[in-house]
């Protein structure tokens, strides 16, 4: 094997995460195992967002030397399924633990058929190397609940490989024979043979830079849902390889306010031509919009029927459908805030309320009849426009327990509940 490949092996780590879960009406802890790769001399570890998320309460990293060391989450980005950890450098120094770091290669230069290796911890089997080829270097898939309920895949294409990728490989590197990181292994098709996917290194590099600098990746949102134009150019009287179909416009979004509609054709973004003929071409277009500064004005050239017109709109900050989660212990109730994106996707009139994730049997919320999926819109006749308002109500209940009136909706049907101590 190449000398640098052995060096890469010293940069691959196993990651054990203990994290909190709000799914069952009570705050519970669960444990998971994944992989990661050290990318800098100062201990930055790249892994998957579905391995280490803000729900993690304890992260420990097993180095190539089999020594374990603590780490903290620097930031995560579920859209690209990447998370960045930092090793506890004081600890490594104190214990004189050595590690090396890997380097990126240019993932745009990969070609189908090229030999690659996946390194990681499949099913907890530390330091497993599997070999395969790049099966496709530009695979498109978008999944609105792909990273543990969070959206993923809108802004990047993926590398597909037949190197065996199993649960636990997640976050480990996909490398070439000389040990350069060309991708971060992310997922495989369950029940399929050797259909594995990785985030390309060129995306990972940008996300790593952004997370190490800001702790977060901020993107812009205007609210258009793209569609591949394929061979629609005849129907829309377009030149070949021009334009992107707008399948849908989110209600209440900047694009909707500007007058865009489903069925419109996007020709230009701020004067730049757009070619969205095939699904693989959509992520770069979405990324072009997402990369704009939040609040900046973007001008879209739109073709509708025979008419072509410019539409300008200010971008909003992109947010997830998954809002902040919380546990109200005295009520036996766990909730998630309704986000603006969730409200839009579910035809709610606004982002008021918290969604019930779980109720604990025998506790006030369960006894009153609340159940998973209900949206609590008011507590004691106070409209729950923020999670803090619900926390306040719970705090005063903790001080002085007494019956509280909860209004909730299920399938747009309004019901009332009394939570009693």
């Amino acid at each position: 094997m190449h000398r640098d490949f052995n060096r890469l092996l010293d940069a691959v780590v196993r990651i054990d995460v203990r994290e909190v879960s709000y799914d069952s009406g009570v705050k519970l802890f669960s444990a998971g195992v994944g992989s990661g790769v050290i990318m800098s001399a100062d201990g930055l570890v790249l892994t998957n967002a579905h391995v280490a998320s803000p729900k993690a309460v304890e992260i420990s990293v097993t180095l190539a030397s089999l020594e374990r060391v603590g780490a903290t989450l620097v930031g995560w980005d579920h859209w690209t399924d990447l998370a960045l950890l930092r090793l506890d450098l004081e600890e490594t120094k104190r214990r004189r633990l050595a590690f090396t770091h890997a380097k990126f290669a240019d993932s745009d230069r990969l070609y189908p058929g090229q030999i690659v290796f996946a390194v990681g911890t499949p099913h907890g089997l530390t330091r497993t190397v599997t070999r395969g080829i790049i099966s496709n270097n530009r695979r498109y898939f978008q999944d609105n609940t792909g990273v543990r309920g969070y959206e993923t895949g809108a802004f990047n294409t993926w590398l597909q490989t037949d190197a065996a990728i199993n649960p636990g490989n997640s976050g480990g590197p996909l490398v070439t024979e000389n040990g350069s990181v060309v991708g971060i292994s992310s997922r495989g098709y369950l029940g399929a043979n050797n259909l594995g996917f990785a985030i390309p290194a060129n995306i990972a590099r940008r996300v790593l830079d952004g997370l190490s600098r800001d702790g977060v990746i901020i993107r812009s949102y205007i609210g258009v849902v793209p569609g591949a134009l394929r061979d629609f150019e005849g129907f829309y009287s377009l030149a070949l390889n021009t334009g992107m179909l707008i399948n849908s416009v989110d209600p209440g979004s900047p694009a909707a306010a500007a007058g865009l509609r489903g069925g419109d054709i996007l020709l230009e973004i701020d004067g730049q031509n757009v070619d969205g003929r095939f699904p693989e071409q959509l992520p770069p277009i979405e990324n072009a919009i997402a990369s704009l500064a939040v609040g900046s004005t973007v001008t879209l050239k739109i073709k509708r029927g025979s008419e072509t017109k410019d539409y300008s709109m200010a971008t909003e900050r992109l947010e997830s459908q998954v809002g902040e989660e919380w546990a109200f212990e005295k009520w036996g109730l766990t909730v998630r805030k309704v986000s603006r994106a969730y409200a839009r996707a579910n035809q709610l009139s606004d982002a008021t309320g918290v969604i019930v994730l779980g109720v604990q049997p025998g506790f006030p919320a369960a006894v009153a009849g609340l159940s998973r999926g209900d949206i609590i819109t008011s507590i004691n006749q106070v409209k729950i426009t923020s999670l803090d308002l619900a926390k306040e109500a719970h705090a005063s209940y903790e001080v002085r327990p007494g019956p509280i009136l909860v209004e909730a909706q299920r399938n747009f049907r309004m019901s009332l509940y009394v939570l009693k101590p």
Partner: protein, 489 residues
Amino acid sequence: MTSVLILLAGLPRSATDKSSALRRLWRAVACFGVLTFLLNAAVAADLRELWKDRLKSVVAVEFFTESELDRRPTVTNGVVADDQGLIIVQAGAMNPRFAPDQFKDFRVYLPGEPPQRFWSAVYLGQDVLSGWHFLRVVEDMRPFLAPITRFVADRSQNSDSVQIAQRVWGIGLRGKDEDFMPYFLEAPIGLIQTLPQRSAICLDDITAPGLPVFDEKGAFAGLGIAGFGQTYMQFSQRDRGGAAVVMVNIGETSAFLLAAEVLPYLGRIPTDIFGRPVPWLGAHGLQPIDPEVLTFLKLDSGCVVSEVLAGSPAEKAGMKDRDMIVAIDGKPLPRLKPDRVVVAYVQREISRRRPGDGVALAVQRGNERLDFQVTLVEEPKMAREASRSYFERLGFTAREFVYADGVGRRAPVAEHTGVVAHFVKANSPAATAGLGMDDWIKEIDGIPVATYADAAAQLSAIEKDLARVEAVLLIRRGGETQVLRIKLK
């Protein structure tokens, strides 16, 4: 032994009905525990006579539901309601997704007669209050029939003509392959409940949904309603834990509406096949209120209005989402069990009125008590009244978009344009393009659909144009739109 048990069970009933000397004698016999074959025979003979007569008020009904692709028969039960061949069929017998003109070829059969012999009937429509479908059978059959009104005793009119523990009997019908053979069912009443109609639940199946129940003297006691689900534990070799399954006997039922909930409504014969007039309040998503909540709010009973519909009388009167209706025309909502029955109560109170009628609603809003005087109007066009046509080459049925479609899709009235894909043929060009049942078609070939007529004209032009290669639809599903391309060649 069986007859002893029956007589003993009949004891409380006999005690209340002292008019019959014969019954008193039975009681004496039963008390002494003496088994008398003679008496047993007398009871049976009596019932057999009653049975023979009352069988004439029972028929089997068959009709065909014509869809885009096929024609399917449905067999159900009917009860004879007058001397003019009026037959009533239960609400659930007909799928509301179909328009009345899709129900064809109504046939009426006599129980126990070969099914080669039947009489045709005309479908008159569905009554909004009772939910019943009304048919009128041809004159030739009428001599073989006897309306249930012929078996009405004075006591049938009373609010509770039968009592708990009283034995009642009914008629069941076998299937068409068994000549709709009638059979005898009998059971004591276990419970009488307000649901919100007075309904009796027997200890065993007593009749079929839509067929009559009689008391021991042969007086009409009520009409069978769809059965209640019963929970069973299902064990199997693989699943030793056992899973709870709810089972419903669809052929028979232990529940029936008391006569007083049936007789006043037999005359509600629809004058319009769509059941018009249909009164409309526009208070949508009625929900019961939990007893704990009622106590908390210091209310006796009530019903939450989830949504006040745009343009409805409720909205015009000033009602708002989340208002709680507590009284109708000054009459507080009764406390009914189970809780959800109150919703049916409010709906019935509206349905029994006519468009143009006023109704006074007392409403709790927050800590305020408000009174609204609402004038009901005709319900907006219903799906069953909507125009529709099937486009064979494209492979789907376009149906006019009606008000209720907008409510279900949470669309403001201003957006109520377009047509609904009411049916999509499997593997057709439309289905292959991704069109689904109930998708909302907003644009056809890039042209926004203004009216149903426009859409129908446009779609039929597409169908006729054999040189056409494709058609493009903009559809809306949930809150999202999508462009679909239907390949015709």
